[in-house]
């Protein structure tokens, strides 16, 4: 057993707890400095397989705006972020767009969907 220590800043909420994390390989042994249990969950994922919610925009044809914002429904592995972004570059939606309309299903085999995060009406002529 080789115990390793690292410092993490929790991003689960705006408090941003600074935590000392002791781990062995991919097992978290001890978390110190977190103010709630979200910190432990964050440390465990961050050591094993860091994940992030991803937000960007996709193109819309004939919409009130030229873009609609999109988000992943859950956090996706960090190493797949740019692959997902590349996929989203190829997508173009037709207005009107609903809120939480699926834009990309099972993005890059993460099992997670990318959905719109607002409604967008069609451009009035």
């Amino acid at each position: 057993m080789v115990k390793e220590k690292t410092k993490l800043i929790c991003i689960a909420c705006p408090v941003g707890c600074e935590m000392n994390v002791t781990y062995d390989g991919k097992t978290v042994l001890e978390v110190d400095g977190n103010k709630c249990k979200k910190g432990i969950n964050y440390a465990e994922t961050e050591i094993v397989d860091p994940k992030r919610i991803i937000v960007t925009t996709v193109r819309v044809v004939k919409g009130l705006h030229r873009l609609v914002p999109v988000r992943s429904t859950e956090a996706i592995p960090k190493n797949k972020i740019f692959k997902v972004l590349d996929k989203l570059c190829e997508i173009e939606l037709d207005a009107p767009v609903k809120i939480h309309q699926v834009v990309l299903q099972d993005a890059v085999e993460t099992g997670i969907n990318i959905v719109t995060s607002r409604l967008l009406t069609a451009k009035s002529e």
Binding site: P14, G16, I53, V55, R66, L67, S117
Partner: protein, 424 residues
């Protein structure tokens, strides 16, 4: 010019404005309208496409547009009206609003209560006194955010960001996602000025270098930014000679603070606190001008939208109550009218409740002299309620008629009180 009357007008449809309008309506205000200069409701939330909103209020991690959507839907459900694409030009201390739009032209609105929810502005380049030419390629971070997230334009390819506010850090990640290179973030303070989690997920995650205790001392380029020169600062924020570093780039973003937007507030006579840049407010969010309330970043700059929403609810609730009270009073009050041979009479308006409490003087002057015995008649809705005898009446001599508390039941519920002079 169109003239309207509303119980409550909310200026601005960001999180504070939406919450205020909803709360005013729930407090019982009849008609509540939000005036918004953009073409849709939501304010700056619409360009804040990142997540992190709503953790306190909904216990969910929402993006800005999703957070706005919930309140937009709710505002429509409770019957809040919206005047979009409409600019408020003036607000008077008597709560008259002058606004303008393409459909109606000029609009005048008399309001029971106003909620100021105009938010804030970004501190611009001029406030920083950075030397150099005025080349293209210098933006505030929020302007760049609107261009990238709503309008669909990339303002540059290689960026330097001055200031470590949240919008700056979020834009560093956003620009990276869109294929740009963020060369560096420069912060004059010895610590970041935004939230720590944004430092982690926006800068650390994408290896964007952060230089603390540094500032930009020069901008190179005549037509377009070609480079910025950074330098380390001492404890007095003075650049240290010999630490200069030229960073080639084509765009400089400024994320150096926000200032409450109070141009309209000043016109209405609202007093501002020089420390916050926003109005002085009481515990109901009322300003020094009766019936004018304020909420959100227009009062002081918040770091969490959930708190802005709560401030909006508070201001809106009290604005609603104030407007209802105003309406009741104006419905209850009598107009005092000068009739035959009465030049004028004071007061112009009389609240019957005051008469119930104590005698009230009516003071009048006649229009022409009558050197004969006369009656001063006081009539309510055509019915004589009081008659006072005088031996003569001259414009130079003011006449007093006293209404007594016994007259209360004769005037209550009426619209007008008429005073006229008759021959005896």
């Amino acid at each position: 010019m169109i003239e309207k009357r509303y119980d409550v007008v909310v200026i601005g449809s960001g999180p504070a404005g939406l919450a205020a309008a909803i709360a005013a309506k729930k407090a019982g205000a009849n008609d509540v309208v939000i005036i918004e200069r953009d073409i849709e409701l939501g304010g700056i939330l619409l360009q804040c496409i990142h997540n992190g909103f709503g953790i306190e209020i909904f216990e969910e991690d929402l993006t800005g547009p999703e957070y706005a959507h919930r309140f937009i839907v709710q505002s429509k459900d409770v019957g809040v009206e919206a005047l979009l694409d409409t600019m408020v030009l003036d607000l008077t201390p008597r709560r008259e609003i002058y606004a303008i739009n393409k459909r109606n032209g000029m609009i005048k609105i008399d309001v029971g209560a106003v909620v100021l929810a105009m938010g804030c502005r970004e501190r611009p380049r001029g406030a920083l006194a950075i030397p150099g030419y005025r080349p293209a390629g210098i933006y505030t971070a929020g302007t760049a955010q609107r261009l990238v997230n709503i309008e669909g334009y990339m303002p540059g390819e290689r960026f330097v960001i001055l200031g470590s506010g949240d919008i700056g850090m979020i834009m560093a990640r956003r620009l990276t996602f869109e294929g740009a290179k963020v060369e560096r973030m420069i912060e004059i303070l010895p610590y970041i000025s935004g939230l720590k989690r944004n430092y982690v997920q926006c800068l650390l995650d994408y290896d964007i270098p952060l230089q603390l205790k540094h500032t930009v001392i020069d901008i190179k380029g005549r037509d377009r930014v070609e480079a910025v020169v950074s330098a380390q600062v001492d404890e007095n924020w003075k650049p240290i000679p010999g630490t200069e570093d030229t960073i080639p780039c084509d765009t400089l973003l400024l994320s150096v603070g926000l200032i409450p937007e109070n141009e309209l507030s000043k016109k209405a006579g609202v007093e501002l606190d020089p420390l916050t840049g926003g109005p002085y407010v009481d515990e109901t969010m009322q300003t020094n001008v009766p019936g004018i309330f304020a909420a959100g970043n227009v009062v002081h700059v918040y770091d969490l939208v959930d708190w802005v929403t709560k401030a909006g609810f508070l201001a809106g609730r009290y604005a609603g109550k104030y407007a209802i009270q105003q309406r009741r009073e104006s419905e209850r009050k009598l107009r005092v009218i000068a009739g035959n041979n009465v030049h004028h009479v004071l007061p112009h308006i009389l609240d019957p409740l005051s008469l119930k409490r104590e005698p009230q003087d009516l003071q009048l002057r006649v229009q022409w002299p009558v050197e004969d015995r006369i009656w001063i008649n006081v009539e309510v809705d055509g019915k004589l309620i009081k008659q006072q005898a005088e031996r003569y009446a001259r414009p130079s001599e003011m006449i007093k008629v006293i209404l007594s508390p016994e007259d209360y039941k004769k005037v209550v519920g009426a619209k007008e009180l008429l005073i006229r002079v008759e021959e005896r």
